[in-house]
């Protein structure tokens, strides 16, 4: 008998530990996602078209600049990726609208105002073989630039490629064999409430691209990256609610069963009324607790039913949720759409990883202490109440 009891106790202990670990993990993920959401609120909302050469389409878009600028802020950039001082850098030639589209925070110095000026990141300034500081001159493949400002890289990107900004017409020429050149056009809608059908609306607004030509250009849409990522955060709130609902349901059923058993056991020795008058406080407390739990249960259930998992439907298969062909192609679609760009999806991902690491330790410590204290307190209370009842 004792052995059986011990085994039962052991099983219960394992169950409790598992539940605690699971709830900790859920809560942790939830906290992390919340922080990511906060971080990504700074992420620029823009659309980007990348060209590998200045082709006809590029020219057509540039010619229609006036028309486009009615509804969009337009920035024209030229990007050269090269090896420099033992690391990958990309030198980006920007125009005056670039800072309006991308939120780049300047730590010290100022934004580029004229020729032969360069803006570098804080990481580039510290971590290269040579350290650079404000006002110094930097020699990039035979062209001298004066460092006029240092921007905060941490907030925007953790990718290994460092972005250096110069004026558009001021890019160094002939950067060697490994040079890769991209031309990109970045657009930011002047109407900030735009949420869906960005590409369609873009074509309709600019009016100069024919339907056949639309397939030639691919538009990387970053206007929704913030919204999409924040969905994960809401998803975790939902998950947490469901877990809580299951716990409460199981606990409610168990406690009601236990109470019925206790009542049946008690009525074998005493009358019901006698039993009630003797343990009035405990009975009232039990009723109060059960009622509170039922209210909480209903509240949670309503929250769960009303929750809407509003992942934009364009990221889901067209008809069947188990369309595995769709899922297998999704990686390629992302690579094709976001892979080429410098300030692209890769950086959003890197940012996610960074935030995850940063908040992991903090949340672990906080949660373990919180849970340990509350569980200890509750179990003590229950033990006391049960002893009294017996």
């Amino acid at each position: 008998m004792k052995k059986v009891k011990n085994r039962k106790e052991k099983n219960d202990k394992i169950k409790i530990i598992l539940i605690i670990i699971l709830s900790i993990l859920t809560l942790l993920l939830f906290l992390m996602q919340r922080n990511i959401k906060k971080e990504l609120e700074n992420f620029p909302s823009k659309i980007e078209i990348i060209f590998e050469e200045k082709n006809e389409m590029y020219q057509k878009l540039i010619d229609g600049r006036e028309l486009m600028e009615e509804k969009y802020i337009l920035s024209e950039t030229e990007e050269k990726d090269v090896l420099f001082e033992g690391g990958n850098i990309s030198i980006i030639g920007i125009d005056e609208n670039y800072s309006q589209i991308n939120n780049i925070e300047i730590l010290c110095g100022e934004w580029i105002t004229g020729e032969n000026q360069i803006l570098i990141s804080d990481k580039f300034a510290k971590e290269r073989n040579k350290s650079f500081s404000l006002g110094e001159t930097i020699d990039i493949f035979g062209k001298n630039y004066k460092i006029v400002g240092i921007y905060e890289n941490e907030k925007y990107s953790k990718s290994k490629i460092e972005n250096l900004y110069v004026e558009k017409g001021d890019l160094p020429e002939n950067l060697g064999n490994r040079e890769k050149v991209f031309y990109s056009l970045e657009f930011k809608p002047r109407d900030e409430n735009r949420k869906s059908f960005i590409t369609e609306k873009f074509y309709e607004d600019i009016k100069i691209i024919l339907e056949e030509e639309q397939e030639e250009i691919k538009i990387a849409d970053f206007t929704e990256s913030n919204r999409n990522l924040s969905k994960y955060y809401y998803g975790f709130i939902f998950l947490f609610e469901v877990v809580a609902l299951i716990f409460i349901t199981v606990y409610l059923i168990k406690s009601i069963k236990l109470n019925i058993k206790k009542y049946q056991f008690g009525t074998k020795r005493k009358y019901g009324k006698e039993l009630l008058s003797e343990n009035l406080t405990i009975v009232l407390l039990q009723i109060l607790k059960t009622l509170l739990l039922i209210f909480l249960w209903i509240f949670l259930l309503r929250l769960i039913l009303e929750f809407k998992l509003s992942t934009p439907s364009k990221f889901l298969p067209p008809m069947d949720i188990f369309d595995f062909q769709f899922y297998s192609q999704i990686g390629n679609v992302f690579k094709e759409e976001y892979g080429k760009t410098a300030a692209g999806y890769g950086k959003v991902y890197a940012n996610l990883m960074r935030v995850t690491k940063k908040y992991f330790v903090e949340s672990v410590i906080l949660l373990i202490t919180l849970l340990a204290v509350s569980i200890n307190y509750i179990s003590e209370k229950f033990k006391m109440a049960e002893r009294k009842l017996q």
């Binding site: 409430n193 869906s196 339907e211 998992l309």
Partner: protein, 416 residues
Amino acid sequence: MAKKVLKNILIYFISIICLFPIILMIVSSFKGCDEGFSLVQYGKILFQTEDFFRGFWNSVIYIFIIIGINIPISLLGAYGFSRFEFKGKGFLYWLYIVLMLMPFQATMVPQYLTLKAFNIIDSPSAVILPNIFSTFGTFLMVQYMRGMNEEIYDAGRIDGLSEFKLFLKIVMPLCRSIISALMVLLFVNYWSMVEQPLVFISDKYYMPLSATLNATEELREVAFAAGTIYSILPLLLYQFSYEDLTQGITLSSGLEGYEKVSSINGVKERATQKQKAGRGIIIFMVTMLSLTLITQKISYSMTPEVEVIKTKRGEITEDPFDKKSKSLGIYNTIVPDSAIHREGENVIYIITEEKSIRKRDQLMKINVQIEATNGYETAIIGVLPYNSEVIKWTTKPLKEGMNVRVVRGRGEESEE
């Protein structure tokens, strides 16, 4: 010997014919669009079709309420008929039997009128109320209770039981098997009811699954899988109450052919079987509950987002962006060219409100003829409802009758 074999073959052949629809349903439920093996139907029904679960829970709730109230009422009525003598008892019992024998089709119109007078037509009560007072249960119980010995009641009397306690402590436990038998019979009857909901309820939101299973386009595509899932619960319930069902029915027929279970092992085995079936029912219901929740979320995010535009009236010019260019004429209905789907013939999709309490946005497909187009705006002829909203852009392929989510906000923009 040859005769026996022939007889057996005949029996098997006939039973296969009887079972053929069920076999066909199960086999067809695993077929995909290309006739090969696939789980597409189950994927769709279990994760994407919200209406299936709506219907399923409607069925469950109707049955739960009807059986939950009908059985106590039947028990009390039967107790009265079998125990007491009162004036008009014979006539009343005769009335009960006549009501039971009367087909629903005969009483349909009077029932409808009565329900309308009570103002509960088009609501769940219209199906629940008439069935709560169905007389079949009373009839079955009376037959059973008449077979009980008078001595039992006398013994109870001597022990000091009141009439109600006699009913509660002696008659009820003795009637356990007939109660379960009645429960299964009522369950089978109401799980498959079609006419009553179709006549008394017009809103799909309140219909049980038996009525909606083949009524909507959405469910018809996956009808085989839906049918298979729909028949799981009756099977489980039958397994659960098999013992009581046979016992209850044999006893009520007045035969003493029922044999008491002889060995303790047999009792134990049947008890564990019953337990297993009971557990099966609970697992099935919990699974359906979780699937309902999951489907609710998935079907919301799978719904295509669309942007709509109202039809215009006016002039179309050859160059859409130059109002001064050559005119193509003045037309009554002008829609953007992206709204026209060229699927063999030209069609447009417009938004209609679902005829239900939920009022979801649904699609209606309309065939149109193109009068003139400049590649950007198109003039059409077609039977369009007044002030209708045409779908301009969509995130997914559209189908008639599909639910969609309209993205608002563009309206203000186009007005500037």
